[in-house]
Symmetry: C2
Subunit: 244 residues, 2 copies
DNA sequence: CGCGCGTTTGACGAACCTCAACACCAGTGG
DNA sequence: CCACTGGTGTTGAGGTTCGTCAAACGCGCG
């Protein structure tokens, strides 16, 4: 969501309250739908959550649920910890994607949200959100949509198949989500570690490495540091759904 | 949810509208929270979805989203079909559990809901639900909670680990959900096929069979036809989270 | 009774994990 | 500027788990 404290000089615009002006990440937010005029109320209750460094936490497990979050720039991951202490990367969050709503049910977070690289976020206090939703049907609907989208995403992540398929599908999905935000181009930054990718895809980090090498040798992508450059999206897509 | 068309003679009660009286499944619904007085409005908009036979569909992929559903008695599964035609069992639904809300985002179902054995369901037309939610904050909150719970469930399903762990965790989870509905006891009916279980847990059906046999030999359960009888819940729990 | 389907059990092979060594940076301090 | 160092990523060899193939079994049903 597009609400950062105005870091640079605010330049008033017609569509957004003062807090949003000057936010460098407004385009991403608008692409995510938060620029729609019915939702302007959302921007009024958003608070900046600061500029986080790599590895810093937005919230931790077993802490009370007070707000939902959105990335403005950068990336974040949600990490669950099972009782044996093993971590599980549940999702990666791109700008404009709401997360933390899963804590509503228990009233406390059961997973952690961690910044991947320099990441800017904003938070929506739940009390204000709830109050707003009770008055504005659009906000209410928007929340339901956001959760529905999240459920839909997890269905995708549940996909079975070979390591190769999951890896390719992962890259294709990330690329598609970036495109939806207006970030077109072959470059796909991967600020998370190989361990994170592997954990999320249920693969060993070595397997992630090997698969990227295999894709590289097949001419599907180029491995750059801090990411990949996608050369053959169609090829990747075909690998992703087990070449029909 | 406790709303079936009154199949038997309605006998007016103080807590439920006429449509709910006579519903044989009211206790399960109440246990799921749908008996709470604030939610009585929900019962007014519910419609019976009939008594389904094994394998019958509540909805299919690519059909428009018009309602959300709940099992009253029996069990249902959600099945996604990827573009290669492979099926994926996303979840099993017990009485009182709401499902179909994931279709909100796209406006159409991307998966199917199928009855497992004789199953009775009711449906909540989304238009009425939305209208009710806009007037009653409790209903609104209830929907958000239901989705939050579903997200939470999927986090559990995302758990990695050995086949043994996933299988044990699956049984423990089903048992816990049944207990929450007031169905205590060691008997755990499994109306779905081994193939369904395996699909959901990312295992071959043969592996499911072998694991059940292994659990049986370890004295953790007894395999009955159409289900299992849980003999050592603690043992299963320990297997489930990789014996700490 | 015989047929058909779902389940069970066994043998084998492959995909992927584990272990281990190495290469590659980035940051740090001399 | 360079060497050092720790962390991350890459590559290779061997093992284990689990999937695949195949066959027998049991149960329900016509």
């Amino acid at each position: 969501m597009s609400v950062a404290h105005a870091i640079e000089t605010p330049s008033p615009g017609p569509l957004h309250p003062a807090r949003c002006n000057g936010c460098a990440h407004l385009p991403a937010c608008q692409a995510a739908g938060y620029g729609r005029s019915e939702l302007r109320g959302l921007q009024c209750i958003a608070e900046p959550a600061g500029l986080l460094r790599d590895g810093e936490y937005l919230y931790r497990p077993l802490t009370p649920f007070h707000a939902v979050y959105a990335v403005q720039a950068g990336m974040a991951k949600s990490v669950a910890v099972d009782r044996a202490g093993r971590e599980r990367v549940l999702a990666f969050h791109l700008p404009g994607e709401l997360f933390g709503l899963d804590a509503l049910w228990l009233g406390q977070h059961d997973n952690a949200a961690v910044a991947l690289g320099r990441t800017q976020c904003c938070r929506f206090p739940y009390a204000a959100l709830r109050e707003l939703a009770s008055r504005q049907v659009e906000v209410q609907t928007h929340l339901l949509y956001a959760m529905s989208r999240q459920l839909h995403r997890q269905h995708l992540d549940a996909a079975d198949g070979s390591a190769e398929q999951r890896m390719a599908a992962f890259l294709v999905d990330l690329h598609a989500r970036r495109e939806a935000l207006g970030c077109s181009g072959a470059a796909l930054p991967l600020p998370m570690s190989r361990a994170d990718i592997g954990n999320h895809l249920r693969l060993a980090t070595e397997t992630v490495s090997r698969l990227l090498a295999r894709f590289r040798d097949a001419g599907l992508l180029r491995v750059t540091r801090s990411g990949v450059e996608l050369l053959d999206m169609d090829g990747l897509r075909h690998v992703g759904w087990g070449e029909p």
